[in-house]
């Protein structure tokens, strides 16, 4: 058994800092519980704010101190995300509350190429969650948990090495040791090594069996079963913002944290998200309003399942930019249960059709997020003689992109087979045919007489769908040499006014 112990020394502070607007992140921060400081960041500690101080004392030392309420639930959510991220490395991940995560990695070593590369990848995976992490490996779970509170990067390969490291550790490291800290100090016991050398019966009588049991677990003399973390089937995470968010940027800053957690949840099950919802709980209109505050729900559907936080953030940015929120946001929530399991994409050194396809999908997705889905169009030729109905416009979908690749090959044959013949249809079609003036029974465009060169081509179609077209089409030339497409409506059956119409231009 080889356990990797992760310890997050600043978990509460970091999970609090994530709720702050970006401008306040560098300021002195502290968490209070029952009017006493429980934790303070380096910036605040430099000003003399120490854990244990009273709130008023701390504020007099540092007037700009940002005080937040310690929140166990918030910490637990942050810790769960760390555990989810760790699940990508081994299925045996367990929590060591309040601020530790344990991984049993013996079976994963070969896949990741040894402990060193595994730890390196683990740190890289945890980096987006923006926590400071201490990482220690040891043969026992309890040993790894204890030592990760003291060291970072320590590796105990076997039991003797673990025992040596533990012997040098202070007694308050044990949960029971912290309880009896003063008594142990009074007895002159500083390290676990000194404790271990004492008679066990006497120790058990004085301090209870818990102290010894903990020590035995750490040394591997006593079984230490751990409950593995199981992954919830649907993702749900919330973030209560410290300050109300008025701008998109502030919202995105909070959403970034949630997206990092979503990606951790996804990578734990090697899945990709297809759609997710961002919920924004707004400030109530009046402070003591009884009605429940307004909630805006933003649903983001991805064309191609993804777990790229940067891409999802870019999509959110586009969607939020187009959205007008009724009130400032107080709380963010991210939910997702629509995921797809598939092998991860290969990473390639040189661009390939696959990477180009993925890139195009993302491009189309971004354009559609910003411009609207209907603004990115694909065309389809329809077998209809009426020119205005011969082209169908559809919004581009990713499925079409895949079909496109298959069609590309067919197109090659069609193109080479198509004989060179004269063009018969103009590329630019006017949305509405433009009635033309007449001069000496000849059509006039922009004050210039048009010269009719070819025609007529009779198009008479559509009696079955109430848009009957009965027209004679001609190709005409303007005085400068451009070619236009004209028609004459055929009287008396047609509803259109008699005369010439401009319908298209040959481009």
């Amino acid at each position: 058994m080889l356990w990797v112990g992760l310890h997050l020394p600043w978990l509460s502070l970091e999970s609090f800092a994530a709720t702050l607007p970006p401008a306040q992140a560098g300021q002195p921060l502290a968490l209070i519980d029952a009017h006493h400081i429980v934790s303070a960041n380096a910036c605040a500690q430099a000003l003399g704010v120490m854990p244990g101080l009273k709130r008023a004392t701390a504020l007099s030392l540092a007037p700009h101190l940002v005080l937040g309420q310690a929140d166990e639930l918030r910490d637990a959510q942050a810790l769960t995300s760390v555990a989810h991220a760790a699940l990508a490395f081994t299925p045996a991940v367990s929590l060591a509350p309040p601020d530790g995560v344990l991984l049993e990695v013996q079976a994963s070593l070969r896949y990741f190429g040894g402990l060193q590369p595994l730890v390196q990848q683990l740190r890289a995976t945890l980096a987006p969650l923006s926590h400071q992490v201490h990482c220690v490996s040891a043969p026992t779970a309890q040993g790894a948990a204890l030592l990760s509170r003291l060291h970072d990067g320590l590796h105990c390969a076997d039991r003797p090495a673990l025992q040596k490291a533990l012997d040098a550790a202070p007694v308050w490291l044990l949960a029971a040791g912290g309880e009896h800290r003063e008594a142990l100090q009074g007895m002159g016991l500083r390290t676990l090594g000194e404790l271990r050398r004492l008679p066990r019966a006497g120790l058990a009588r004085r301090f209870g069996v818990a102290l010894l049991q903990e020590l035995d677990c750490a040394l591997g003399d006593r079984p230490d079963p751990r409950e593995p973390v199981s992954l919830p089937p649907a993702f749900h995470s919330q973030l209560e913002l410290f300050a109300r968010a008025d701008t998109t940027e502030q919202l995105l800053y909070g959403a970034q944290v949630l997206l990092a957690r979503l990606v951790a949840w996804l990578s734990a099950q090697h899945a990709f998200v297809r759609r997710f919802t961002l919920q924004m709980k707004h400030e109530p209109r009046w402070r003591h309003s009884t009605e429940s505050p307004a909630v805006t729900v933003l649903e983001v559907a991805l064309a191609e399942p993804s777990r790229d936080a940067a891409h999802m953030l870019a999509l959110l940015r586009e969607r939020l930019g187009a959205l007008q929120l009724p009130a400032p946001t107080l709380e963010l929530g991210l939910q997702s249960d629509d995921i797809s399991h598939r092998p991860p994409p290969n990473t390639e050194l040189f661009p390939t059709p696959q990477s180009e396809h993925a890139g195009l999908t993302r491009l189309i997705e971004r354009l559609q997020a910003r411009l609207g889905r209907e603004q990115v169009q694909r065309l389809e030729a329809v077998a209809d003689h009426r020119p205005e109905r011969a082209t169908a416009v559809h919004p581009a979908e990713p499925l079409w992109l895949r079909a496109r690749e298959a069609a590309a090959h067919r197109h090659e044959d069609v193109c080479s087979a198509a004989p060179k013949r004269a063009l018969t249809r103009p590329l630019w079609l006017l949305p509405q045919a433009l009635p033309l003036q007449e001069r000496h029974s000849r059509p006039v465009l922009d004050g210039q007489v048009l010269h009719v060169l070819a025609g007529p081509e009779r198009i008479e179609s559509g009696w079955w769908d109430n848009s009957l077209a009965e027209r004679d089409y001609f190709i005409a030339q303007t005085i400068e040499g451009a070619l236009v497409w004209l028609y004459r409506a055929r009287l008396p059956l047609s509803a259109e006014r008699d005369g010439w119409y401009l319908h298209g231009r040959f481009a």
Binding site: Q375, E412, R425, L427, W428, L429, L483
Partner: protein, 264 residues
């Protein structure tokens, strides 16, 4: 022409060269150096336009990649797509996508197919409708150029575009491995432009296009090029058009009724 070649000369080495005497062929030093009577070269090979006459006058022998090519038109519908169709079809045959931004009118799919283009390999992006507030018209074009996954881009730019916006697009086009055509109004001719290739198109009779090269990486070309476009007119209609343009100076003949009933 371009001021780039002189600025790229390393200043330290210049006196050394002059001490040894003038270099016989300085253009061999670096791919972005050329003499005033030569064509500029580029690391990417150009895409043949399908018109031999035009290819002979374009640096690299075709439409350049990774830069903007600016086409100035008096109005849409003078044969601009027939000019580009051969190169766009070549892009599509290599399995890459063609994107059109803000075409001036509805695009007809049958006409595209007649031009040899594949509608399945074409996307049309409408940015001028502004369905959502804050949508920038050139943003979409810039994203497409930057992504580098699009085979060819044909974009109709809004009128009275500031030159720095065009420069921004030109910078974005560095990532775009393929031709990028921007089509603008003829009034932009007098304004500076960051595009290294600029052409002014004029209709020159039926199925003919006159091209003036306003700017290229190479010596200036004073005479316009006349290109025969893929024909719309049959041989009979073409003769009729020629007769008309010749007889235009004289009194124009009224249209005969016989023209209408001639169904042949």
């Amino acid at each position: 022409m371009d001021a780039m070649p002189t600025s790229l000369l390393p200043p330290a080495s210049a006196p050394v060269r002059s001490a040894r005497g003038p270099l016989a062929s300085p253009e061999t030093l670096h791919p972005s150096l050329w003499l005033a009577h030569q064509f500029g070269r580029s690391a990417d090979n150009a895409l043949p336009s399908g018109f031999g006459l035009l290819d002979a006058q374009l640096p690299g022998g075709g439409w350049p990649r990774r830069v903007l090519s600016e086409l100035l038109l008096p109005h849409p519908g003078i044969g601009e797509i027939r000019l580009l169709a051969a190169s766009l079809a070549a892009v599509q045959r290599s399995g890459r996508l063609v994107m059109m931004f803000d075409p001036p009118a509805a695009v007809s799919a049958p006409a595209l197919q007649e031009l040899g283009l594949d509608v399945a390999q074409l996307l049309v992006v409408q940015t001028h409708l502004q369905v959502r507030p804050g949508a920038d018209r050139l943003w979409a074009l810039e994203q497409a150029l930057k992504s580098g996954h699009v085979g060819a881009v044909v974009a109709w730019l809004p009128q009275r575009l500031r030159s720095e916006r065009l420069r921004r697009l030109q910078l974005a086009a560095h990532a775009h491995d393929g031709p990028a055509f921007v089509l603008r109004e003829m009034a932009a001719q007098g304004h500076a432009s960051a595009a290294p290739l600029r052409l002014a198109l004029h209709p020159a009779g039926a199925d003919q296009l006159a091209l003036r090269l306003l700017k290229r990486r190479g010596p200036p070309l004073l005479t316009p090029l006349h290109l025969a476009l893929p024909p719309v007119l049959s041989a009979v209609a073409l003769r009729r058009a020629q007769a008309w343009s010749e007889g235009l100076a004289e009194a124009p003949q009224p249209l005969r009724a016989a023209t209408f009933i001639n169904l042949a």
